[in-house]
Symmetry: C2
Subunit: 126 residues, 2 copies
């Protein structure tokens, strides 16, 4: 027997690797928050984006944006002005990923209390 | 400014911690595959479940099932027969999480080629 996807078709190992990779990336809260902020606000400058994400360092924001750009999730536009202005916006691909993860986020919000209660019951078993 | 959820409401830090925790858990491919197999097959015995998940060790399957049980994602039923029989099935909570993650899975399947192409373009820049 082989592993199958939710529709029962065999899992393409490339898809499995990509899913694991993407999920562990977006498990990173910074990526998740960048997806959210850009989905809500549209195009933003680097500095303004940073102001919307309390606690993120400039280095971490740069790394996060670079990884997202590499995956085609966002577009980086350099405006030839002095000083140079750099804007970021989500591609359709990035918007789609934000939507897909939104379901997981909503599920967790909805079920927070229930999961905490389940953990408490499990941990207090004799 | 504070971090906001996709609807623009402030993020509850407990929700954020839970989302990060759950996503990194399900990023684990074994949890994802257990969710899929049990969603498709209903209740299963430990040994049969293991046969549906090629490559998983008995120890890893035990650990994965225990973590999912603790979160209230599945129910473990011990039948008092000799030898004892143990069955696993998803709770409504587990089925809901499977559905929510299904969107991410489908997104990755749909966009695999596009992401690989974006990475290739990015990596071959001068």
């Amino acid at each position: 027997m082989t592993a199958t996807d939710p529709q029962g078709a065999p899992i393409d190992p490339r898809v499995e690797a990509l899913v694991n990779d993407l999920i562990s990336r977006v498990a990173d809260k910074w990526t998740m928050i960048v997806l959210e902020v850009l989905a809500a606000q549209g195009e933003m400058r680097f500095t303004v984006l940073g102001q919307h994400i309390p606690g993120i360092s400039q280095k971490m924001l740069t790394q996060t944006l670079r990884a997202m750009e590499r995956d085609g999730l966002l577009i980086r536009t350099i405006h030839p002005v002095i000083p140079p202005r750099v804007d970021y916006r989500l591609t359709d691909l990035g918007l789609g990923l934000g939507d897909a993860f939104c379901g997981v986020w909503r599920w967790a919000e909805r079920n927070l209390t229930q999961i905490e209660a389940a953990r408490h019951r499990f941990d207090s078993r004799p």
